[in-house]
């Protein structure tokens, strides 16, 4: 169930005085079951890119292939695609609208034309998967806290049982604990349901701990696409485009400069601890 992007170009407001190129010849592949992190500063094109994955935006030129099928070809069922590629937007306020959380989560599966029983079973399962407590199910979504709203929004997508889950900045505006909770939950989903996860963020720290591959976007094109360790080797170049490697990368690199015999591969605090202990003997 892979998604492939071939020479994708996207131009905003084409043909007007405000024309702006948002994506520039993107070629990418998202294989099954991968946990991918996508990172880039504001305006780098990452949000534009992910909206192509489920056909919300149509590329100015280039193709989007889902399992080898062109999603913009005549007769391709985009609605079915959207249930397979679940996209959770940054602001849960943009999608929560029902009178209570449970009914809201039912919206997605209901649109798939499922029976009432199936819809409710899926909604219940999704709510459990995101770890939202049962006492909130019958509460208005507008009364939830920021983190709970996020969970409800993610559940709304999960209830459609997608094969690919795309999350646009799921941790923006959350406190450190709320952030870790959400990301741990997503990682668990990835492990248990074996779905592909694309995590968009501008925090390297968030991404480094979970993903197996990082795509760095800059000015509408792919700057790096590799395993975290390799991407963070370019930490000086990352800084130049307004990003930063995790703090531990700086720490181990500085230690090395000070003459320590230490590996600079560490991307998480735990790995850094191990590396330092090893260096100390």
């Amino acid at each position: 169930m892979s998604i492939r992007l071939e020479h994708l170009n996207y131009i905003y407001s084409a043909g007007t005085a405000f024309e702006r190129k948002a994506l520039d010849d993107i070629c990418l592949e998202f294989p099954d079951g991968q946990f991918v992190g996508m990172i880039g500063h504001t305006g780098s094109g990452k949000s534009t890119l992910i909206q192509h994955l489920n056909g919300l935006l149509k590329p100015t030129s280039g193709r989007v292939l889902y399992n080898g099928e062109d999603i913009f070809a005549e007769g391709f069922d985009l609605r079915r695609l959207r249930s397979k590629v679940g996209l959770v937007f940054q602001y849960p306020e943009h999608q929560l609208f029902e009178t209570d959380v449970f009914t809201d989560v039912c919206f997605g599966p209901k649109n798939l034309g499922l029976s009432k029983e199936e819809t409710e079973a899926r909604a219940l399962a999704a709510l459990q998967q995101v770890g939202l407590k049962e006492k909130y199910y019958k509460v208005s979504p507008f009364e939830l806290s920021g983190g709970q709203k996020r969970r409800a929004a993610i559940a709304g997508i999960l209830a459609m049982e997608p094969e690919v889950l795309v999350l646009d900045e799921p941790t923006a505006g959350l406190d450190p604990k709320g952030r870790d909770d959400i990301l741990d939950q997503v990682a668990k989903l990835h492990r248990e349901r074996k779905i592909t996860v694309v995590l968009v963020s501008h925090s390297m720290e968030d991404i480094a701990r979970y993903v197996e591959r990082i795509i760095v976007m800059n000015h509408g094109s792919v700057m790096f696409d590799d395993v975290p360790r390799e991407v963070f080797r370019h930490y000086l170049e990352l800084e130049q485009v307004g990003l930063a490697a995790p703090q531990v990368t700086y720490l181990v690199n500085e230690l090395r400069e000070k003459g320590w015999d230490i590996s600079t591969d560490a991307t998480t605090v735990e790995e850094a601890v191990q590396a330092i202990l090893r260096a100390l003997g």
């Binding site: 407001s13 405000f18 489920n54 919300l56 602001y91 943009h94 609208f97 649109n111």
Partner: protein
């Protein structure tokens, strides 16, 4: 406290997040401004004119169209309009866009004037009689309407909506004497204008978020379609109220208390070109008056 935080930071010192938000705001406005109003950005003398001058100019032009009715007067009006359009550097295509909206009105006006004006008949078929006077009024009315639209398009195409409200506020300031809340009206207008692109963008995002959940905004009969709008309208209203509330709080926190004694960041001051523009307007009126007379005399002689 949030507002206090914003106040003490100078521009260069803004923490990254706030800086980013500010930047994103301006980028979005640039992108969206085109869908509302119809401002066409260009670097021209007309763009740089004070909005009050442009308001006055449009008014003078429209009045002249209706006050002076002769072939010569319309020739002069055409020349002046062409010169202004040329100077504005806005492609003619955009000027003519506004005509689409009045096409039906134009058609009716011409038809009614053509067939219902009494006078010397030119030709006659079935129940319709076309008269010499009818043709004349029909053509004049068409010219008036078309020029009226193009004339006001010149103003809206070369002035940002915000600038226009500023101009209106200043121009209507004397009305405050008779207790018209000019400042408040202008403030309401500019806030409304400012919110159009924001809400448009919000609508776009909500539609996408719901489409991603399988919502369908296009198919179905009327009742189904209205029902399908609920997932769009509820978040939109919630967000509009939240934004209105935030804005009111932010304004109050910055000490906003209405128009009394309020200063402007960019006060409207007449420059040399603005005074020149007024002079041009006056010359235009005088010329119009004489040209119209010539037409009048010429017609007298012909008769």
């Amino acid at each position: 406290m949030r507002q206090w935080g914003l106040c003490v930071f100078r521009r260069g010192q803004l923490p990254y997040r706030i800086h980013e938000i500010l930047r994103r705001r301006t980028e979005n406005t640039m992108l969206r401004e085109i869908t509302i109003g119809q401002y066409y950005p260009a670097d021209s003398v007309i763009h740089k004119l004070d909005p009050r001058v442009k308001l006055a100019g449009t008014l003078v032009f429209i009045v002249s169209l209706f006050a002076f009715a002769s072939v010569e007067a319309y020739l002069l009006a055409t020349l002046v309009l062409a010169a202004v359009i040329r100077a504005s550097k806005v492609p003619l295509k955009f000027m003519l866009k506004g005509l689409k909206a009045i096409f039906i009105l134009l058609l009716f006006t011409v038809a009614f004037n053509l067939f219902l004006t009494r006078g010397t008949p030119i030709f006659h078929f079935w129940i319709f009689t076309v008269t010499r006077e009818g043709v004349k009024t029909a053509v004049f009315m068409a010219i008036r309407l078309v020029y009226l639209i193009i004339g006001s398009s010149v103003m809206t195409l070369t002035t940002t909506p915000n600038n226009l409200t500023d101009g209106l506020e200043k121009a209507l300031a004397p009305l405050r004497r008779i207790r018209v809340p000019v400042h408040e009206i202008a403030m309401i207008m500019s806030i409304a204008l400012r919110f159009i692109p924001i809400l448009l963008e919000e609508t776009d995002k909500i539609m996408k978020a719901q489409t991603a959940r399988g919502a369908d905004f296009e198919s179905g009969n009327l009742i189904q379609r209205v029902r399908n709008m609920i997932p769009l309208l509820v978040p939109l209203f919630v967000s509009a109220f939240r934004r209105a509330n935030d804005l009111a709080m932010a304004m109050e926190a910055r000490g906003y208390h209405g128009g009394e004694g309020r200063t402007k960041m960019r006060p409207l001051v007449y420059a040399r070109r603005d005074k020149l523009a007024y002079l041009v307007m006056l010359l235009y009126l005088v010329a119009m008056f004489f040209v119209n007379r010539i037409g009048f005399f010429a017609e007298l002689i012909r008769w």
